[in-house]
Amino acid sequence: GALVYQYPRRTICKSGTSMRMECQAVGFQATSVAWYRQSPQKTFELIALSTVNSAIKYEQNFTQEKFPISHPNLSFSSMTVLNAYLEDRGLYLCGARLGLGVREQYFGPGTRLTVL
């Protein structure tokens, strides 16, 4: 079955510093990768969607300047949280789709970010 790995699983950073997280699709090529944040007591907020052969599209309230994403190939994506503050804490999930005609996303276990 499709597997999505995320690294690191947990990370702690000081307020104002940055941290990078990675998403790896194993066993399939992800035609699109979506990054979500699951904050305490909230559902999944879509940060950005990266689709093959298209520009990365950021949702309202999220910007490339704050959450730069790299999607160099069909099995790997990384996102950095720049200048992290308390409101950036949460579980960051990567969701990957197997093909352009496939609607469901397969998720990694997430990177839990704690900001001190």
Binding site: L46, L49, T51, E104
Partner: protein, 112 residues
């Protein structure tokens, strides 16, 4: 834009009883509905999916039927087990794009 509504935040029930989790949605395009289950410290896993009106879909004892007339995709199980304790998310995408919109989630707690 698209939206998904889950009315129950927490459902607590005893093992062996039936459960139904509500999910309604809004979209102006053809809908694709999903149920994801997230156990503690694990990735959300796809449980069910459907885009066919009035057709029941089943997996691992759970079932749901997409009803476009009422914009609903309620999740049901006839007899819950302790291992069903988890967070359940209803999610929607549509024919126009790739974005997946999630409901707020329902936490299910099954007691012995």
């Amino acid at each position: 834009g698209d939206s998904v509504t889950q009315t129950e935040g927490l459902v607590t029930l005893t093992k062996g009883l039936p459960v139904m989790l509500n999910c309604t949605y809004q979209t102006t395009y053809s809908p694709f509905l999903f149920w994801y289950v997230q156990h503690l410290n694990e990735a959300p896993k796809l449980l069910l999916k459907s885009s066919t009106d009035n057709k029941r879909t089943e997996h691992q004892g759970f079932y749901a039927t997409l009803h476009k007339s009422s914009s609903s995709f309620h999740l049901q199980k006839s007899s819950v087990q302790l291992s069903d304790s988890a967070l359940y998310f209803c999610a929607l995408t549509n024919s126009a794009g790739n974005k997946l919109t999630f409901g707020i989630g329902t936490r299910v707690l099954v007691r012995p």
